[in-house]
């Protein structure tokens, strides 16, 4: 991991923010240490989210994503620092903040005693939306989210994807300025995930600011205008997905599958490959599906030229190379580069 890359990408891209009223979220030195925890879960992060942008939080489980979202949505009190959502300080005025933000949580928290439609209507009534307006909004959102055919069903009778849609529709009932989506596509099938992505794009088009946490690289890259990479409670990088990947433009990747021979040692093999001229870094990826090893090798220049030397190194270790794929670096490589380990 090179620190130079980190320093270059931390913070806003220069010149992007001109005045404070263009900010949807402003976080300054935000930290959280839970009672009895030996270390900070969030170690003083600062960032800004622009109005109307989709902002992705990328990091493994336990990185501090949910703690950050929890603080921004008034459910967790920070140990120090300042967080402002749509102009409202979430610590000083949590009630005011709840008026302007919407939350789609990781887990289903729909009101199981109410129908889908009633979930939407009651949520709006908690937020003081007048009766006629909430009925109009509920009908429109049920329609928009493909729930109009069973508005009177109970949440328990729906699939995970439909539950997810209900929770987004519910969060939109009070027309929040900033919508927080916490790991929205976890557990969704591919079709439901695509539907979700479409809806996020629509929200952005309608001018809603969306803050999304994910540990899915594709999701972060596809949806986000900018991505913050977070690990161990620290913000490692923040930029557009393209700029983050571009930081590694001179590098290519070589993904290898190795069938280890008897008594083979993966650490020794990685050391041998790392020693090859032009190899930047070799990372062993977890691959529980097969008995073999999966290695991602970051190289300088064209990756094709490294296949033969790597195959030789593998053969010398007593194993055999069963698959090799050449690739452009993606966000996952950026993450590995930043943190020294794979995300999944």
């Amino acid at each position: 991991m090179t620190t130079g890359a980190n320093q270059r990408t931390i913070g806003l891209a220069p010149g992007r923010v001109t005045s404070s009223d263009a900010l949807a979220v402003e976080v300054t030195d935000l930290a959280k240490r839970y009672t009895k925890a030996p270390t900070d879960s969030l170690g003083g992060v600062s960032f800004q989210v622009l109005q109307g942008e989709v902002f992705g939080f990328l990091g493994p489980n336990g990185a501090g994503k949910s703690t950050t979202i929890g603080i921004l949505t008034t459910r967790i009190v920070p140990t120090r620092g300042r967080a402002v959502v749509a102009g409202v300080d979430v610590v000083a005025d949590p009630v005011g903040a709840r008026r302007v933000l919407g939350v789609v949580p990781q887990q289903n928290n729909l009101d199981r005693s109410l129908s889908v439609r009633q979930n939407l209507l009651f949520h709006a009534s908690y937020h003081g939306v007048p009766r006629a307006e909430r009925v109009r909004r509920a009908d429109a959102l049920l329609d928009q989210f493909g729930l109009a055919d069973r508005p009177d069903g109970r949440p328990d009778d729906f699939s995970g994807g439909q539950i997810q849609r209900m929770m987004i529709a519910r969060a939109l009932m009070h027309a929040p300025s900033v919508l927080f989506l916490d790991e929205p596509s976890t557990g969704l099938d591919p079709a439901a995930r695509l539907f979700l992505w479409e809806k996020v794009a629509e929200l952005k088009a309608a001018g809603t600011t969306v803050v999304i946490t994910t540990h899915d690289m594709d999701e972060a890259a596809t949806l986000s205008d900018r991505v913050a990479i977070i690990d161990h409670g620290t913000l490692l990088a923040l930029d557009t997905p393209a700029a983050l990947v571009q930081g590694m433009a001179s590098e290519r990747t070589l993904d290898c599958a190795v069938d280890p021979g008897p008594g083979a040692d993966v650490t020794a093999l990685v050391a041998v490959i790392d020693a090859l001229p032009g190899v930047r870094e070799t990372e062993q990826l977890d691959d529980p599906a097969t008995g073999g090893w999966r290695l991602r090798i970051l190289v300088e220049g064209e990756a094709a030229g490294f296949v033969a030397p790597v195959a030789q190194a593998v053969a010398a270790s007593g194993g055999s190379l069963t698959d090799a794929r050449l690739g452009e670096p993606n966000l996952e490589d950026v993450f590995i580069h930043m943190t020294g380990r794979a995300l999944r």
């Binding site: 009630v95 908690y126 937020h127």
Partner: protein
């Protein structure tokens, strides 16, 4: 309750407070809506236990001669108190445990524009409303089973007041149980808390009559329900020896303040990370 959005044009703080009340009422309306839909189930839930206690102790035992005639006069006010306190505890504690752990349902309300304490207050008020209904319904049941119940028209406002107080007391105890007890312990806690609560609350006997059983009298004096039972007894059947009604009101109010503060602290701890 209709929701009307009116911008009074007044200071922002006033508008905010008005909005918070509206939010609190909307949350209460949700709970009333759900309970109203299952009203017969709710009634069966709260009536059955006092009904059987009243029937067996007030009717069967006295008719068989095991209990002295007139015992039902001691028992009835106590069972009204029991219905109020017990229903209050259960109506608040159980939903809280479920909503905080298994269903997470409370999150949507914690994210409503209302202080966290407001959500807790709504829980206590709603639990007390259920408890109040359970206690009041004891009166027609009493008439039905016993033929007649002790009643003094002049005491009506005070009876009403102590039932409200008893309902709030029970509901505050429910807030404490529902927020401090971890979900996997709720069953054992209920068994350990509710049984002593039921039998040391002077609902089946008058407190002064325990003078020969001093240690038990002391134990009973610690139970907040005792003061609700004794106040009702003093108001409905003054000739039965009882703790002075004024003392009962004072102690019950004191308990309510202490228990609801403890409950609010527990609720905040659970609601905010």
């Amino acid at each position: 309750m209709t929701v009307a959005v009116t911008d009074t044009g007044g200071p922002v703080g006033a508008v905010h407070r008005q909005g918070q009340w509206r939010t609190g009422l909307a949350i209460l309306r949700r709970d009333l809506f759900v309970t109203g839909r299952e009203f017969p189930v709710f009634l069966a839930q709260v009536i059955l236990q006092p009904l059987f206690l009243l029937f067996v102790f007030g009717k069967v035992l006295t008719e068989l001669g095991y209990a002295r005639p007139g015992y039902e006069l001691v028992l009835f006010p106590g069972l009204v108190a029991l219905a109020a306190v017990l229903t209050g505890v259960q109506s608040t504690a159980l939903p809280l445990v479920i909503e905080f752990s298994y269903s997470n349902e409370i999150e949507d309300r914690l994210l409503a524009p209302l202080p966290v304490g407001g959500v807790a207050l709504e829980k206590v008020v709603f639990g007390a409303m259920r408890a109040f209904v359970a206690a009041v319904i004891m009166f027609p049941i009493g008439v039905w089973i016993l033929g007649t119940i002790p009643w003094r028209a002049t005491a009506t406002p005070w009876v009403f007041l102590i039932i409200v107080l008893g309902s709030l007391l029970g509901s505050s105890m429910g807030l404490i149980l529902g927020t401090y007890v971890p979900p996997h312990r709720i069953n054992v806690t209920f068994a350990l808390v509710l049984t002593p609560l039921i039998f040391t609350g002077c609902s089946q006997y008058a407190w002064p009559s325990l003078h020969n059983l001093r240690w038990f009298q002391v134990v009973c004096a610690l139970n907040p329900m005792t003061y609700v039972s004794e106040a009702l007894r003093g108001l409905m059947v003054p000739r039965v020896p009882h703790i002075p009604v004024g003392v009962c009101f004072a102690v019950a109010t004191g308990y309510l303040v202490v228990l609801s503060v403890i409950g609010m602290i527990g609720f905040r701890r659970r609601a905010l990370g």
